[in-house]
């Protein structure tokens, strides 16, 4: 018998395997054998790539990456055996399964099949427990979209709470996700405290032993206010973010929520008719939160962190720098201004002296050029300084620019969250006149509703007098449109009281400036 000339057959002979007459080795076809060898070879890089971590080894490349970025299941949150089982059972097709389930969920919502909708959401989260969007979107679906399908406010409340409980599950699975805690705070605060049914919801929330026992056993009745519970959630989220967990949302707004929640808490007490020490404490809390927010470091898109409360300090610093440059180069700023002025052409001078409304297009351009020329800055002064003082002047000018820019950046960020207004509110509302203004206004409204016209008139007048004090002490509130509108509504009802008493609005009215402004806006 001659030796086989096929290479694979040669291999099988060399290995001394039991060879069949058709060239098989161990009963395996040659192609199968090659495939097996290749699979075995590929196991080596696969092992290096995906070996799991254990106590003695950091594991393969993927395991190390998971550890590095905190993505392993143990790092993310609770491990649910059911979830793990279902994910394994889908054999890598969980994304397709979730897509189908999402479609089913939409269908069940459409046909108002709430049982199957809830079941589908459960299946979805079992498949993708660490996907933030599912938790956020579907919790919103439950609390906002489905709850309103019910007419009985008890049912509505139950569905709002279902959404909140859904988020609680999400938080358990994603313990390094501050956004979910923030969403829970938002739902508890705004959905319960701002909905049309807020009166009923807030009442039911306080009485909801099951929720509070689950959330934080031992919570007292005053602590069961939805805004205070929401604040707890926001503080928890902040704590998480401060521990170094990445915050994948706008920090400026995220960190402002505890302050806003405390303000809303105080406002809710006013609407409920709770005044006195309780309201003062609430505004004190809001002030504390405002101060905490003011000094919190907020990252910006310029990669320079800011603190909202430090705008005035930065401006003071800029003024100091300017003064130091002035001390270093006395009179140079004015000299440069004069020099620049002298450099203007006659046409530019004439254009500047022409009234803005009478300028031609060419003159407008000249004015723009002239103004640019006349603009003198401290860095320009520093650049023009004598050589021996120039470096020192430039350093001071750079610090001046830095302080100015920081103040401007803070100003822009303040505008986004209406910081100035909220700070003024927190500072003003805790004062005795403001507390009096709110209480008397609330009393006046009650008396008006109960047709106690004389009493209502007196209460309104007391309130307006108190408001006068508040506005005089807080220019920001005096200039604020919302405050003006709120007062205008109060005055309108006061007018109705006067009409029924056959009286006229006194002139000049104590809040005449507000009245004038709102009537101008209305016109």
């Amino acid at each position: 018998m001659s030796l086989p000339d096929h290479p694979q057959r040669v291999l099988s002979v060399q290995l001394g395997a039991a060879k069949t007459k058709k060239g098989f080795w161990l009963g395996l076809h040659s192609e199968t054998l090659v495939a097996l060898v290749l699979i075995a070879a590929m196991l080596v890089p696969l092992s290096a790539l995906s070996q799991p971590a254990d106590s003695s080894s950091p594991g393969g490349y993927l395991a190390r990456l998971r550890t590095q970025f905190g993505l392993s299941q143990a790092n993310l949150g609770e491990i649910d055996p059911t979830s793990e089982t279902i994910r394994l059972a889908t054999l890598g097709l969980k994304n397709i399964a979730v897509t189908l389930l999402w479609d089913r969920a939409n269908h069940y919502k459409k046909v108002e099949d709430w049982t199957n909708l809830s079941a589908t959401l459960e299946q979805m989260i079992k498949l993708q427990p660490n996907f933030y969007s599912i938790w956020d979107f579907q919790a919103h679906n439950l609390s906002y979209n489905i709850s309103v399908e019910f007419d009985d406010y008890h049912d509505r409340y139950a569905w709002v709470m279902k959404g909140i409980e859904f988020l609680r599950q999400g938080i358990a699975f994603n313990q390094r996700e501050p956004r979910l805690l923030g969403r829970m705070g938002w739902f508890i605060g705004h959905k319960i405290g701002k909905a049309d049914e807020k009166k009923q919801y807030r009442r039911l929330f306080k009485a909801d032993d099951d929720f509070h026992d689950r959330d934080r056993p031992g919570r007292t009745l005053p602590e069961r206010d939805n805004w205070l519970v929401a604040r707890e959630k926001y503080l928890g989220a902040q704590q998480l973010a401060d521990s170094g967990v990445p915050l994948r949302t706008t920090a400026l707004i995220f960190h402002g929520e505890p302050m806003m929640t405390a303000i809303n808490y105080a406002r809710s007490l006013e609407q409920d008719g709770t005044f006195g020490p309780a309201l003062r404490d609430a505004w004190t809390l809001a002030g504390d939160e405002m101060r905490r927010y003011s000094v919190r470091e907020i990252p910006t898109s310029w990669d320079v962190p800011i603190r909202l409360g430090l705008r005035e300090a930065e401006l003071t610093r800029a003024e100091q720098m300017a003064a130091e440059i002035e001390q270093l180069l006395p009179g140079q700023f004015q000299a440069l201004e004069k020099l620049q002025r002298e450099s203007l052409t006659t046409e530019q001078e004439n254009a500047l002296q022409t009234a803005a409304i009478d300028r031609t297009e060419a003159e407008q351009k000249m004015v723009a050029q002239a103004e640019a020329t006349l603009k003198v800055t401290w860095p320009m002064v520093a650049s023009a300084a004598p050589a021996d003082l120039r470096n020192a002047a430039k350093k001071l000018a750079a610090r001046y620019v830095e302080a100015e820019e920081t103040a401007e950046m803070i100003d822009r960020y303040r505008d986004i969250v209406n910081y100035n207004f909220w700070r003024a509110t927190c500072e003003a509302e805790v004062t005795e006149p403001a507390l009096r203004a709110r209480e008397t206004a609330w009393r006046a409204e009650q008396e008006f509703q109960n047709a106690q016209l004389q009493a209502a008139k007196k209460s309104y007048e007391e309130s307006f007098a108190a408001w006068r004090e508040v506005l005089d002490a807080a220019p920001v509130l005096r200039a604020d449109e919302l405050t003006a509108e709120e007062l205008a509504e109060l005055i309108a009802r006061y007018r109705m009281v006067l009409e029924q008493l056959d009286e006229k609005l006194p002139t000049p009215f104590i809040l005449q400036d507000i009245l004038d402004r709102t009537s101008t806006v209305a016109q």
């Binding site: 279902i86 049912d155 099951d210």
Partner: protein, 613 residues
């Protein structure tokens, strides 16, 4: 429960259905015979081909007609033995595992746990039973043919039809036994899972006092069990019930040491859940509408909901929804008409949040027009509310006088009565569908209803087996499996395929956006949304043309192949309604028709295949 299509009476359904079946069957026979003739013609010429087809048809018919029950039973036993040899009972272990771990996946705090548990168990049972019989049926014959074991059968005096029918029956018996075992276990699991009780602690109940200081009743709440609690409302005598939560309520009774009306309760007895696992027998009516001016209208108002199942009537106007109930007999409703209803509410303004939207129900004689004074109620959404229309009714005449009339003597005419629903609050709306109002004609047994639902699964299993055996007569096992699954999938997506084809032919993308298979692939690859129209380039036109040709056979199949989901009756069971016998009979007849067709097709295919050669 939602009933989008009315269930026709079996007596009215069977005639047209049989005619259609005979027509479709004849058409298919003619088409198949023509195709066979065409194929044979290319081999033997037209005359010989005609002769062969004719003889083949005669032989096939003779084969089917001359079957022996004894031989069929013998072959069925062989199929059963084969199934047991293949360890088919392992599936019972799998089912036991599912039951054991179902608690992991099922949420007892669900809106309606009964519905959830029922849906899960019936789906699991259906899937397992159908899967087992599918695998058995598609791999059996091909394996016998490949191993030539079939020769030991066909060389005996056995007809092809008997081989096919024997296997169908054998595997069906296996499936039936599995279904019976799984169904019984599932029933026990469901009953055990949903049954529960609550406690009521004394501190959770507050006494309501009337203005004169007497006890007006008690209100409070139950303990928190199985993810829910109930609000309770007790009358002064200590009796009462809970509110409806998670699709059920409980009866409650205060236990006092002395006289129930004077003593304080010392404990509370809470009954078993009511409303779960029920089997209501409804007498349904037909619905028509009146518009806001009181004029007849074909439908109500749309409030913009995507799902148009329910139509709305405007409150504070003459708009009304009128149900006409037929076949009302005094002996069945001797104590009055137990009217049950589900009413949806749509508010156009907030109104009084703490108060529901009130409405009225009146009963009217459809002939004389005499109508009762209204019964007022407050709409309770997503729960079944009940009003009992008593035998003696008050009727107010035009002059303002009120008199008493008898329901059956004065209002019900020739077994018919009209029920008129109106919403009373202006600018608020009631939403209703025909199935939302019914007269509760009685209560069936939940166990029997459950068995009826299992009958639906049984029909599905028979169909799967028949299709599997039919394909296995001429295809290899894996191919037969794929073919059977394709048939079932096409049947399952029947409506979608029909809409898709219509959209493709008419060019109206709103019917089914996204296009056929090739267009869908194109859209996926190019990441083009299904809502965007594709530019009518030559390539796109070609794709659409190819899609039309690909969809045509699917459309034909969708019109012919059975839909297993249409045989399911779990919605009735989960909704707490008795499964109508008419529906079961229609499903049974449909199944029988398909079984016959698949049996004949299988017998012919096996005969045409010379397995013994």
């Amino acid at each position: 429960m939602v009933l989008e299509e009315e269930i026709p009476k079996f007596s009215a359904w069977i005639g047209p259905a049989l005619l259609w079946y005979l027509f479709a069957g004849s058409l298919i026979v003619v088409i198949v015979a023509a195709l066979a003739w065409l194929v044979q013609s290319t081999l033997y010429g037209p005359l010989v081909a005609g002769d062969r087809v004719y003889r083949g048809l005669l032989a096939g018919l003779g084969d089917c007609a001359g079957i022996s029950l004894r031989r069929i039973w013998a072959l069925s036993r062989l199929a059963i033995q084969e199934s047991l040899r293949r360890n088919v009972l392992v599936v019972l272990g799998l089912f036991a595992l599912i039951v054991l771990f179902a608690g992991w996946f099922l949420d007892p705090t669900s809106v309606n746990p009964g519905k959830l548990y029922l849906g899960f168990m019936l789906t699991a049972t259906s899937l397992l039973v159908c899967l087992v019989t599918l695998v058995l049926s598609v791999f059996s014959l091909p394996a016998d043919i490949r191993s030539k074991a079939i020769q030991t059968v066909v060389t005996k005096p056995v007809r092809s039809a008997e081989i096919v029918l024997g296997r169908m029956i054998g595997f069906s018996i296996v499936g039936t036994v599995l279904l019976a075992l799984m169904g019984t276990t599932g029933w026990a699991f469901i009953v055990r899972s949903v049954n529960h009780r609550h406690e009521i602690a004394a501190e959770d109940v507050l006494e309501n006092r009337a203005d004169d200081g007497t006890t007006a009743g008690w209100e409070g709440r139950t303990s928190f069990d199985r993810g829910h609690r109930h609000r309770i409302d007790l009358k002064p005598d200590g009796s009462g019930r809970t509110d409806s939560t998670q699709g059920h309520r409980h009866d409650v009774r205060a236990v006092t040491a002395g006289d129930a009306t004077t003593s304080r309760p010392i404990a509370y007895a809470v009954g078993s859940p009511v409303g779960l696992l029920e089997s209501r027998k409804p007498l349904r009516g037909t619905l028509r509408f009146l518009d806001r001016g009181g004029r007849p209208s074909t439908k109500g108002i749309s409030v913009g909901a995507e799902w148009s199942y329910r139509q709305y009537i405007e409150g504070g106007t003459l708009a009304a929804a009128i149900w006409t109930f037929d076949g009302i007999a005094e002996r069945e409703f001797a104590n009055g008409l137990p009217l049950e209803m589900i009413v949806r509410v749509f508010r156009t303004h907030k109104g009084e949040i703490e108060k529901g939207i009130t409405g009225s129900v009146r009963v009217r004689n459809p002939i004389s027009g005499l109508q009762s004074d209204p019964f007022y109620f407050t709409a309770k959404e997503f729960t079944i509310d009940a009003i009992n229309i008593p035998r003696t009714l008050a009727v107010t005449s035009v002059d303002g006088g009120t008199r008493q009339v008898d329901l059956f003597t004065d209002i019900v005419a020739a077994g018919r009565v009209e029920v008129i629903l109106q919403c009373l609050q202006p600018a608020q709306y009631y939403g209703i569908a025909q199935a939302d109002f019914y007269l509760r004609a009685g209560n069936g047994s939940f166990a029997i209803n459950y068995a009826k639902s299992c009958l639906g699964i049984w029909f599905s299993m028979l169909l799967v087996t028949a299709i599997g055996v039919m394909f296995s007569t001429f295809l290899a096992g894996p191919v037969a499996l794929l073919a059977t699954l394709s048939i079932l999938l096409i049947g399952q997506f029947r409506e979608f395929i029909q809409r898709l084809f219509e959209s493709q032919v008419t060019g109206d993308a709103t019917i089914a956006p996204g296009g056929g298979p090739i267009e869908s692939l194109y859209r996926i690859v190019t990441q083009t949304s299904i809502t965007l129209d594709l530019d009518p380039t030559v390539a796109v036109q070609s794709i659409k043309t190819i899609d039309t040709f690909l969809l045509a056979p699917m459309r034909l199949g969708a019109g012919i192949f059975p839909s297993l989901s249409a045989l399911g009756t779990a919605d009735f069971l989960a909704g707490g309604f008795d499964i109508p016998l008419d529906l079961l009979a229609e499903n049974g007849m449909e199944t029988l028709g398909y079984l016959l067709a698949f049996f004949v097709a299988g017998a012919f295919c096996l005969k045409a295949r010379e397995v013994a050669s």
